[in-house]
Amino acid sequence: MTNAPINNIGNLELFKGVWVLAEQADGQLESITYELLGEGRKLANELGTELSAVLLGSNIGNKAQALIERGADKVYLADVPELAYFADEPYAKVISKLIRDYSPTIVLCGATTVGRSLAARVAITVNTGLTADCTALAIDPETRNLLQTRPACGGNIIATIVTPGRRPQIATVRQKVMKEAAIDGSHQGAVVNVALTPDLLTSRTKRLRHVPGESATVNISEANILVAGGRGIQKSEHFDVIGDLAKVLKAGVAASRAAVDSNWISYAHQVGQTGKTVCPKLYIACGISGQIQHLAGMASAETIVAINRDPDAPIFNVATYGVVGDALEIVPRLTAEFKKILGR
């Protein structure tokens, strides 16, 4: 094992500042970055410390200002062609080096596919703890430790976790849970150009090609509204009913495992234990009974609508609004009503 431990045990007070790892794809900042800045600002104020963003990419310097306008007091910018897109090793090496050099006390990262791969490598390299997929963060008024709250066991348990003896305290944060930082054009910040030695930029893995997703609707983790179909949709052709409603609401299309296993829709849309965990503002479950494995992936949605023929279906236990009826009859009518409201 080659990871030299960082000398951070017993020197906790030397670690200052809250960091947010910005996530970008094709040079565009992902919305999770703004959510992390919103939450990071609260924590930094609470601790009376600075909020910084770390931005890695290529020709990405023009995005530093966007981070400052969203509240970053400082932007650590690593802007070289080798960092154009996420690669586990160079990203982890650069961020680990920055942590060693500047000693932040908290590092927040999105609980995205990229973020979860990256944060784990970084946490081991700098020899500190990592808490996954947090849905609430706060500062303990007595110990000043970061209180990291997250669901476990498919959402049936809520755990609060601390990293009492090491720094930084690293957490990945679930998408769509924290409020985005508002834009404030008058907020001032400094850009620190990070010096990078060649060894930090090497990668043993190599990206041969990148195939973009079918459309934005596939990225169900990011959607504000999701319309989901399950067994009650009965066949592949009927899934259009779900798609039509999603289109009117500019929503993502999600599905239960039953619908994916029946090949009505691809796995990228699956919500639940073996699919994705989502946290939209509104989740409309159509013909989904709500097996525990499905609820594990969506029960933290803000508002849940359930449409199902079985009045005893478990989905009704988590639904804000429940409709006992045939989704195939109700959903097209609902689409028509929403069209009227939204003038689409």
């Binding site: 094992m1 990871n3 586990d88 995205t112 596919t113 979860r116 791969s117 944060a119 784990a120 490598r121 946490a123 081991i124 500190t128 990592l130 808490t131 996954a132 997929d133 669901p151 476990a152 066991c153 498919g154 049936n156 348990i157 809520i158 609060t160 976790i161 601390v162 990293t163 009492p164 043993r204 893995t205 990148h210 195939v211 997703g213 079918e214 990225n219 983790s221 990011e222 509204i225 500019k250 796995y267 699956q270 965990t277 503002k281 509104l282 525990i292 594990a296 849940i304 609508v305 988590v318 639904a319 609004y321 429940g322 045939d326 009859e329 009518r333 009503e337 929403f338 409201i341 939204l342």
Partner: protein, 264 residues
């Protein structure tokens, strides 16, 4: 080639209770299973072995009862099973778990590919695969849905991103975490089950893997659970009734503000 699959035994249900004094899960009387996503990792390792030759080892860290998960993996066709078990491991977080698995993998030594399921159904962290890769200083490809090519020195895999996917080449040895899309796990054969019952399981303690006691279990874990609670109860649901047209109208009215805000 030597394919090592790291698996975890998890409760077969999410309906678990919390011990109010120790903040640990009460798993007595709850049926245990192999973490569902690990089944895909086992299946992929078996397919790689069947195509390329070599052997598959299933490795788990856990309580002595985790032996049953290894027997299930043996029934599916893995060649060898190793249980790393010691009271010193109790209370491990993902950091200490990854350290322990990494030490066991160091002892195994000749691995070509180390496979994990994307995440476990109890902890849901997705951290142990990449953490083991970091401890062993190995390249990693997470969220793998397909291995396109593999030979003795390298592999090419498809890694799913939030939107789309990328095709990544890695030298061997490397660490992979796999998602459900990668394959359809086989059911154990009767013959496999019989053989698994008799198979010998290799058992290693903390000292067998030369682990530093300071890095193990609750004491070696950087993170500590200070509170476990059931989730807040959801607001009592409101039933909307009537003829389909009426239901649609009422429901749209209830959701009016949400959809206008979300759509803006």
């Amino acid at each position: 080639m030597h394919f090592v699959v790291c698996i975890k035994q998890v409760p077969g249900t999410h309906d678990v209770r919390i011990n109010p004094e120790t903040y640990t899960l009460m798993t007595e009387g709850v049926e245990s299973i192999i973490n569902p996503l690990d089944m895909y990792a086992i299946e992929e390792a078996l397919r790689l072995r069947d195509r390329l030759g070599g052997s598959v080892t299933a490795l788990t860290m856990g309580v002595p009862q985790a032996e049953s998960a290894l027997r299930e993996a043996l029934a599916m066709g893995v060649n060898q099973a190793i249980l790393v078990s010691d009271s010193a491991f109790a209370g491990s977080d993902t950091w200490a778990t990854s350290y322990t698995l990494a030490k066991a993998l160091e002892k195994i030594g000749d691995y070509s590919v180390i496979l994990f399921g994307k995440q476990a159904s109890d902890g849901d962290t997705a951290q142990v695969g990449p953490s083991v890769a970091a401890f062993l200083d190995l390249p990693q490809i997470t969220y793998v849905r397909k291995i396109e090519e593999i030979d003795a020195s390298r592999l090419v895999a498809e890694r799913v991103l939030e939107s789309g996917y990328e095709v990544i080449e890695s030298p061997l040895p490397c660490v992979l975490t796999v998602i459900k899309e990668i394959n359809e796990p086989r059911l154990p054969s009767l013959k496999g089950k019989m053989a698994a019952r008799k198979a010998e399981i290799v058992k290693w303690s903390a000292s067998d893997i030369a682990a530093d006691p300071a890095m193990l279990g609750l004491n070696g874990s950087p993170t500590k659970i200070i509170k476990l609670t059931p989730p807040p109860p959801r607001r009592g649901g409101e039933r909307i009734e009537g003829e389909p047209d009426e239901i649609a109208r009422k429901l749209a009215e209830k959701l009016r503000d949400i959809i206008i805000e979300a759509a803006s």
